[in-house]
Each structure stands twice: as C-alpha cells, then as structure tokens.
C-alpha cells in the first residue's frame, strides 16, 4: 500500500513545492530541493514533470528574460543576479534532463525527451534574449544536444525517435533538424548502433514541409508566416551532404538493408545526381537476399525515372528466385516487383518461359499460400505472352525422357524453358490442400481473358488459409466407417509402422 501511494504522494509534494516556488521568490530553495531530488535518481518522472512545470512557467512569465541593449553595460541589480542564477540552473537542468535519456528506463527516457522538446518549444516562443534580426528562433544548441542523445552511439534509441517523430508536424522542427544533421553526421566509420539510430531518424524525417504549415515558435497565428520560411533548396542541400557522408560509412547487412529502405522511400527523389547511386545499387544487387531485392526496386525506379539502361536486370531478377525466398519477409515484394518487371509484352518468349518454369519449380517446394500466388502469376505470364501457350499445349504432343529445362542455368535465355512443359503444375493438382489443388487446375481449362489479380493475396499467410478452411463450414458431415482396432487403422495405417506405440 505504501509503495503504491508513495509515488503519488511524492509527486503531489513536488507539485506543491513547484507551485510555491512559482508563487513568490521566497521559496527559491524549493527549486534547489527539487533538483537535488532529481539528481538523487528517485521518482524521476515526477521530478521531470515538476521541473517542466517550473521552467515553462518561468519562460512564459519571462522571468529569465534579459534585455540586452547594445552598447550598454549591464547593471548588477539583485533582480538581474537572480535571473542569471535562474538561467544557469536552467541550462544545467536541461543538460541533466537530457542525460536521463542515456541511463534511465525507457519510459523515463521518452518522458525526458518530451520534456526537453517542450522546454525547447517554450524557449522558442519566449526567447531568453531579444534577437532583432532573427525572430523565428529555435535554441539550436539545445536542439542539437537533444539530437545528439537521439543519435546515440551506445543505445538503440528507437523509442526516442518515435517520440521525436511527433514533433515533425512542425515545419521549423523539420527544417532545423535538417540544418543540424550535417553537423552531427560522423565523417569516419561510426558504430553500427549509431548508424541504425541515424537511419531510423532519417526514415522518419520528412524532406518536404507539411501541408499545414505549423511551427513551434509562434505565440500567435499571425506571426507564423512572417517569422519562418521553410527553405526547400537548403534542405535538399543538407540532405545531399548527409547522404554523401552516409555512403562513405561501412555497412553491415542490417544497416545496408535499412540504408536501402531509406534510400528508396525518402532520399532517392531528392538526390542531385541519382545516377551516382547506380554503382551502389549494382553492388547491392550482388549481395543476395532482401538487400538485392531492395536494390532491384531501386534499379527499377532508376530505369523507369532516370532512363538507366541495365540489360542484365532480368538475369538478376531471375537469380533471385531461389527456394529460400519463401522464408523471407520480402517475398510479397519480390512477387510484386517481378510482376511489374514482366508486365511488358515485348519481352522475348524464352525469357518469360524461363521465369514461368522456374516459378513452377519453386512451387513444388513452396508453402501453400505461395503456390496459389505462383499459379496465378504463371497464368498471368502465359496470358501476356501467347507464345508461352506451348508450355501448356505442346503442338505435337511428343514425349521427353527428362525435362529439357535447366534449373541451374543462371541465364534465363539459355535455360531452354520454352521447350519444356509445366509438369510441376500438373503435379501440384495433387496437392493435399484443396485450395492449392484447385488453383493449379487452371491449366486444364482455357485461360480466361482477364488476368488474375493476386495483389490482394500477396500478404496471405497459412493462418489465413486455415481460417478460410474453418469458415468453409460445409454442412456435410462425413465420418470414417472403419472402426479402428486399438490405435491402428484397418487400412492406410502408417503411424504404427514407424512408432513403437
């Protein structure tokens, strides 16, 4: 009972202390008490809240505001001294708050960053000094300190990034983050954690300003437009600068993948010279697995948007169809992409036949949900390329001693697939699952005139098939009629052949 009540009690005490402090100068000691309590490390969240309360109010009331009049020496009045003291404590506290982001539990870290950001926003609204030339002013030093915590070298700071992301609704936060980022970007090889954190931030950080321009540092609506101007060109310049640095880092497979995702989703459209990425993408293509898949997508945009010519792209795509893909998360993307790539009707028939044949081979070992997709995919390929009909309907109906298709050939054009037949699909008509078996039956009847749309089922899992089969609650109730003798069935018993039961 005491345990549960204690924190609430303490937070109450701290709150009253803070309010007392704010009410008059008499209780200046309270602040010192709170900070001491804060330093002790207990009840961090309550302390953070009370500190936030104190300083936001102080900033609002402009208690720390010092009028600087040029060419006029400061007079050392007690009030001024008090202000100076407050400012010192404020900067100190800010640093301490940010330090919370390193060691404390994750929840406190998130709270600390939000407190810090709140303080920054209040300081932006009610600046400590009057700067004449630049009104839309964000305390860059403090923002930089916060960002440094986010781009930690030692810890994974995804939760902090998540919290920080909430502030990206403000245009100025975006702009100044971009402005600071080049300064924080490591020039030489940083640690993997740093890269991960960096990429996480990059992934979330928008490049363009939001549609509703909201900014942090405005007290009233009118000043919004006058004070701040989101300079797109500058942001682009910062981005290029940052990206050039990032390309120099050494990447592990994990960061490489992340880098590609960031490149594809955020950066590529804004790069000055996207064609410079070609080498990087081509290198990535050779890595294999999801990385090459992402690179492939990059290549696709390069070819589509930037007129890149890369003849071996189909061979690359072809080599990506390996049995292992069914156990990656990217298989849906691969199917989607290859469907895009092979959507052209001007591709040579032998090339597409090789794809169809390879897919069919893979279907022999693929999980059920993928077999359905593959069947539709092959059907679509045959629909697009009428030359492939010979895979289903051999003109003369001869026989072969073995499948003429060469699975191990890396060049699809040499795989001799066009002389083969889709026996795999025929075999799959004997699949145990009825949904798969029916999907494989498309080769029995004339093909439809419209392509199958498999984009909807790309993300289907075996659970979906399970649910579907459960729902297909047929009214028919059928039971076996052979009474088992003990454990053994009368016929088709296989378990007791191999188990000593």
């Amino acid at each position: 009972m005491s345990n549960s009540e204690k924190p609430t009690k303490i937070s109450k005490i701290l709150r009253t202390k803070a309010q007392e402090f704010l009410s008059s100068h008499k209780y200046a000691d309270n602040l010192v008490d709170i900070i001491k309590h804060f330093e002790s490390g207990a009840d961090l969240s309550a302390c953070l809240l009370s500190l936030e309360l104190i300083f936001t109010n102080l900033l609002k009331e402009r208690h720390m505001f010092i009028q600087i009049i040029p060419l006029k020496p400061m007079e050392a009045t007690p009030e001024l001294q008090y202000k100076e003291w407050l400012r010192n404590i404020y900067t100190e506290c800010f640093n301490k708050i940010l330090n919370c982001c390193e060691s404390a539990p994750a929840k406190i870290q998130v709270q600390a960053i939000s407190t810090a950001m709140n303080l920054i926003s209040f300081e932006a609204k009610y600046p400590l000094e009057n700067k004449l030339n630049f009104k839309g002013y964000l305390p860059l030093g403090k923002l930089k300190a916060a960002l440094m915590k986010i781009l930690s070298i030692k810890h994974n700071t995804s939760h902090l990034t998540q919290k920080y992301e909430e502030y990206f609704v403000y245009d100025d936060v975006i702009f100044f983050t971009w402005k600071i980022l080049p300064l924080l970007t490591a020039k030489s090889n940083p640690t993997e954690l740093y890269i991960i954190n960096y990429l996480q931030l990059m992934e979330k950080l928008p490049v363009k300003k939001n549609t509703q321009s909201k900014i942090v540092c405005c007290v009233d609506e009118e000043s919004t437009k006058t004070n701040f101007h989101f300079d797109q060109i500058k942001v682009k310049r910062y981005l290029n600068k940052v990206w050039n640095c990032m390309m120099l880092w050494q990447h592990t497979p994990v960061t490489h993948k992340q880098l590609l995702i960031v490149l594809l989703e955020q950066v590529l459209p804004h790069l000055d010279k996207p064609l410079l990425m070609t080498d990087f993408l081509m290198d990535s293509l050779d890595v294999g697995g999801p990385i090459s898949l992402l690179a492939l997508q990059g290549m696709f945009t390069m070819i589509q948007v930037h007129n890149l010519e890369y003849p071996k792209i189909f061979a690359k795509l072809y080599s990506m169809f390996e049995p292992e893909i069914f156990h990656t998360k990217f298989k849906a993307r691969l199917f989607y992409l290859s469907d895009l790539f092979l959507s052209s009707t001007h591709l040579p028939g032998s090339l597409v036949a090789a794809f169809a044949k390879r897919l069919a081979r893979l279907a022999l070992i693929a999980p059920s949900e993928d077999i359905i997709i593959i069947c539709m995919f092959i059907g679509n390929l045959i629909l697009r390329h009428s030359g492939l009909k010979c895979l289903l309907n051999h003109p003369t109906g001869a026989s072969a001693s073995a499948d003429p298709y060469i699975m191990d050939e890396s060049d699809p054009l040499k795989s001799n697939a066009i002389n083969s037949s889709l026996w795999e699909i025929q075999t799959l008509q004997n699949h145990v699952l009825p949904s798969v078996a029916t999907a494989a039956r498309f080769i029995n009847s004339p093909l439809p005139s419209v392509e199958w749309d498999f984009t909807k089922i790309l993300d289907n899992t075996s659970d979906d098939i399970f649910d579907k089969e459960i729902k297909k609650n047929s009214k028919l109730i059928v039971l076996a009629f052979d009474r088992p003798n003990g454990l053994a069935l009368n016929r088709g018993e296989k378990i007791s052949l191999h188990w000593n039961i």
Partner: protein, 855 residues
Amino acid sequence: MAKAKNKKKKLAEHISNKKKLQKTKSLNPFEIHINKQKMKVLGQKLKHDRGLPGVSRAKAINKRKGTLLQEFKLMNKSNKFLDKRIGEKNSGFTEDDRAMARYAAVRIKAHKKASIFNLANDEVLTHKGQTLNEIEKFDDPKSDDDDDSLNEGNTGKLESDFVGDAHFGGGVLTNTGSEGFKSHKDLINQLIAESKKRKAEKQKNKEQTLELTEKLDEEWKDLIPLVNRSVKTAEDRVQEVSEVDDYDKVMRELRFEARGQPTDRLKSEDEIAKEEKEKLEKLERERLSRMKGVFNDSIKTVPHRSADDLDDDFAYDSEPEVTLAYNEKGESNIVSDKSRQVDVEEVQDFNNVEEDNDESEDCDTASEDDLSDLKHESSSDDEGNDTNVVEVEGDEMEEEGNDEELNGISKNDIKTDLLQRKKVMEKARQELPYTFELPESYSDLQEVLKNRSPEYHSVILERMIKCNHPSLAESNKEKLGLLFVYLLQYIDDLNFDDDINSCFKTFACLLPHIFDLAQMNQANAQKSILEVVKEKQKDYRKNKRRYPGPSVLLFFKLISCVFPTSDFRHPVVTPSIVFIDQMLFKCKLNTRKDIAYGFFLVNLILEYTSLSKRYLPSAINFLAGLLHMAIPKNTVQRIRVLPPFKSTSNSLALYRKESTLKMSLKLEPTDLIETEITDDFKVRVLYNALKIISEFNYNFKEFASNREIFALIVKYLELIPIDHYNDNMQEEMKNLLSSLKATTEKKLFYLMAEVKRPKALRLYEPNIQKVYDFKKHKVLSKEKAERAKLLHKIKMEKKGALREIRRDNSFLGRVKIKERIQSDKQRQEKVKRIFAEANVQQSELNAMDRKNKRK
C-alpha cells in the same frame, strides 16, 4: 409421238379456253362496281378495288337457299322420311330392274373386303332367329329338349289323333254325326285354343317343380346341423360337465393370445455378412468419389456417343468382347492365369518399389492378380482408359496398405500382444462393476478413470456406452455427446511428461470407443473436434517457431481414425492439414523431441494421404532436412538446405561406426519428450525416414515431376557416409537410392490441352423485319399483344356474324312475304272462283226463276 403431244397440247388449250370463256361470260361490265381510290400508289395491290355486288349477292342468296331455306321449310317438323330404296327415285327403272339392282347390291355387300377370303361360311345359318353356334352352347340346364323326347303328352304340341282328325279328315268311321258338322273355322279355332291351353299347362307344371326343388333344398340346409348335432350331443355334454382340463385352458389361452405378426425371416450369417459387405462397398465408393472431389467432374471425358444415341443412357457394354483366337505360335490371345502371374512378377521386378518382404508373399490371391494385370495393361496403352485406371488404383492401394501393415508388424508379435491384452481385459472385466453411470461433469469422468490402467479405461468406457446406449433413452444421445467432449478433454489433459508410454496406451484403448461415440452423434463429434483443432492452432499462433505439446499429435491421430482423410475437402481434416503444414515449415528443430515431433507429423501426413496419394511440399522438405542433418559437415563446406533447417546443423550425423544392433528400429514415444540426441536415436530416425521416403516415392510414382520432388533427397542421400551404419541400413539406403532413380527415370509426356469438341453452329431466329404500315402500334408485352390481337379478331368476327344474321333475317323475311303473297293470291283466286261459281249458280238460279215466272 408428236401427235400425242399435239393432242395433249390441244386438250390443255381447250380446257383453258373453256375456263376463260366461262370467266369472260360471267364478267358483265354492268355488274362490276369500282371503288374509287383517293390516292394511287404505284405497284400497290388492292384487294377491294373492284367488286361484283350482284354476283356475290346472288351467290349468298343461293347459299341460303341451300341451307337456311331448307331449315326454314323443316321448321316445326319433328321428322321426315327419306326414301333410300334403290332405284325408287329413278323413273327410268322398271320394277324388274329395281329388283335386280337391289339383289346385286345385297350380293356386293356380302362380298365386302373383309369377307373376301372367307370361304367357309358365306351365310350364317340360323335356327329360330338364333345362330346355330349359340344354340350349341347348351347354356340352360333346365332345357326341356329331353322332356320333349320322353313324353309327348306333356309337351305343348297337339295330340296326334287330333292332328290326324284335323288335317286329314279322319275318315268316314270316325266322323259320327252326334257332334254335328263343325265348320272349318270352328275347327281351327278349337285347335288353336287347345294348343295354347296345353302350352300354358306345361309351363305351369315346370314352374311348380322348380319351386318345389328349391324349397326342398332350403329345408335340407336347415336340417344338416341337426343331423350332425344329434350324433354328438351326449358326449359333448359329458366333457363339458367334467371339469375344464388344464391343457385346454392353456390351449385356449394360447389361442386367444396376440399372435406374432409375420415378419421377414431371420437372416442367416452369410446374408448378414453380405449385407455388411455391400454397405461397406457403398461407403467405399462414396469415399472414392469424395476423394476425387471436384477434380474429375471437369476432366471427365465424354464417352463416345453414336449418332443414334437416344439420350436414354442405353449403351452396349463398353468392354469389347474378345473372341478367342490363336496366333501363329499357338498362343491364345486370352491370357490364362498362369501367364498372368508371370506378368505380375515381371511388373514387380520392373518397379522394384516394394520392400523385400513383398516378394516373399507373392500375389497368390486372385484379386491381386487382376489388379496387377490391369496395372500392366495401363502402362502399355496409357491414354486408353484413364478413368478405369484411377478406379483400379483405388482398390490397389487398399491392398497395398493391408499388405504393408501385415509386413511391418510381424505376425507373431501381434499375436502375443493381443493375447496379453485379452488376458488383462478379461481380468478387468471380472473386477469392474457391470454398470457405469454417465459422468455428469468432467471431474466425474476424471474420478472414474483415475488410477486405472488403460485396459480398465477401455472396459469402463465400453460398459458406460452400453448401459447408456441412445436406443435406451432419448436423452442418452446428448449425454454421450457430452462424454465425447469430456474424453477429448481427458486426452488433452494426459500427463505426457510423467509416462508418455502409458499415455499413448491409454489413447489407444480409448480410441475405438471414441470412434463409436463419434458414430453415434456425428454432428457433435465433428463440431467438437473442429473446436479442438481451432483452439490448438490459436495456441500455436502465439509462438510459431515451437511445436505444441504431444496431445496435438494424438488429436491428429484421432482425426485420421474418425474422419475419412482421403476426402478432397473435409471440414475437419483440411484445417488440420493446414496446421501440420504450418508447423513443418515454421518450427525450429533443435532437440530430439523436436525432431521426433516433426517426424510424427510427416508420418501423419503419410497416413492422411496414403489412400488419396496427394503431395505436401513441407513433408518432403522435412524428410530432406532430416537427411541433411545426417550428413557430417566440416566448416568449410556448406550444403544448402531449406528453412527451417540450418545449413550447418549436423545433429543427426554419425561420427563413428554404430556398434550395437538394436532389436527394434521403430521410434519410441519417449523420443517425444527427451531432449538429448543419442546415436541410437539418430539411427532410428534415419531408418524410419528412409522407409517413409520410399513410401512417398511409391505414392508419387505417377506424378510427372517426381524427379524434381525427390531431387534434394537424392542429393543428400548420396552425401551420407554409408559406412558408419550397419549392413541393414546400408542395404536400405542403397535400395532407396536405386528405387528413387528408377521411378524418376521415365518418359514425360508433354502437356496437351484437351481437344475441343467442335461446337455446333448456333441456330439463329429468322430475322423478320416489320413492314411499316403507317399505323401506330402500341408496344406491348407478348401476352398482351396476343390478347389484343385475339380481341380484335373476336370483334371482327362478331361484326361479321351480326351482318350474316341480318342478311339471314332479311332473306327469311323475303321468303315469308313471298309465301304470304302467294297464299294471298291463291286465296283471292279461290274467292274469285267461288264468286264466279256462285255467280254462275246465281245466274242459273235467276234463269230458272225467270223460266218459272214465264211459266
């Protein structure tokens, strides 16, 4: 020739000329009335541009004269005579001519077509108006023919002397004068009266005798019982008085007891067995059709139909009758049994799929013989009869299944095991009480089954079900359904970690009873098992990388016992296969129990598909992975393998020569809970994996791409170091490799689309376009248009009929007035005549008067 032609021509001309003449004759220009046309349209043909009013009126009048006038004349007359005598109306005939003509007509009538060949009886002979045939029937037993012959006196005929007197005058002597002379007329009268009297008398007599006989008969009937009774009465009375016998009592009771309704006779054992067999065969047929699912509906080839097919499903036997014939070497084309057996052996050698044991018990049975024969046939003519082959295979695999089962478990083992079991069961039977209440709740069931051995479980359940059979009470069915659910829960709660062997034994004992319960309440069984599968799958979803507990295995095994796993789609079996598929693809294999678990699942898949011969990639993938694990790997070399297996894993590899020779190479239930992988386990898993692969290989031998399916397995198999294993295993591996290679080396037939039947041209409706006729037609529905048309027609007909009636009336009016005028005229003439006569008389009278006056 020319002449004849000319003649013909002339004739034709003549006739046409005549017709023309007739026409021109009738065409009197003054009779033609021309209807004036307001607008002339070129090329328009008009029906009513000209008419002949006079002619048509005359026609109508003539017609009426023929019909209406005749009716009018006959009005108020009930009948009329038609004189149809031949030649009566013809005044040219004389009387003789008429008679001749009439006689000729009679003769002709007699020689009508029907009787033209009837030579025997031209005329039917009659007697007294009856045909002779009718008389000969002797219908009436009371015919008085014989009476007639017996005594003449009784007949209605006149006496001979009277006749003599009357007819022949009797002679002088008899003619006494006392009676005086009778006139001839008197005599005749007397004669008639006499004969009538006699007839009446005779009739009377006859009736009297009939009456008397009838009366006598009736009286006799009344007498009969009296006569019988009178003989026995004394004895009867004595018996009745002497007290009622026990026997009689019983007998009477028995007599009045409700008698058993006649029913069908009891069936003999043979018949019962036969019925059972038929039932099973029917079920099997249904199962096969379900196994094929939708598949064969579309593939089904249309059987050949002759052009004379009447759609009545009548067909000659499709199997052509083979006529016995001998070739040059003297061998008949119908293969004798011996040569068939040779064939079978050849086939088996060729396939070499079966285990060594198969060869030992060569197919002696006739059925096996036939099947193999068919198998051979199908391989020789391939496309000929696809459907046939499928059916045959269905039967074949049963046989195979049975055989292998028998092979796998040596018979002696089974026997001893069964004997032991029987003993324990007997003991249990004696010890346990005979009746058991159905458990009210799950805890009750637990209470009853607690601390009992598996055999006791079986007996308890058996008695529980027997005591509460649904036929005994209405509510029992639901209660047994509850028991079923409790049993499922009980299986789920079995404690596998303690003693997994006894758990499996308990399950085996429960299984037949679970099967029985499921049969009793099928819908409930299906629903509850499906719920279990759903729940287990839900649990599994939380961590997809780990196998769930062994109870899931038991449930899958239960499903394979209770439901037909060969169905194309089954509401319970299909989801469970999806579940197994998921586990085989996803779950990690680190420890012994994981491997054993996965192996059990693959084994289940084999069992599920043993009849339907279907393919599941994950099962083959798992087996390949097991083989891969058995390859010892050094760090440099990396052999690719598919997930969930790791390319570096070699946990099943043997590094030294296996030493001990184990008795049983089967896997143990304990493998499902232990974690340490021993050498013994490695060998056993590998051995069973090889076995299962060979069975899959046998199942898939018809598949086109089984080479690709088994490619990985072959690859791994070749990499396993063979010399670490004992001879038995080495043999096994070699056999498997060779059989795998044998089945994969076969001809592949390129896929061909089914040849489309030529489609008959579509028959289109004739394209009739309406001619525009300046009239506005309402757009109506078909029925309404039809109705409107009919209404219009009725209206027109009505008008026409009214017009006709009006004309009829006027015609009749004219006729009446004519008659009136005529009759008036006649009357006037009569009056005139009378007046004239009267005038003449008057004048004569006057003249006489004047004469008299003059006088």
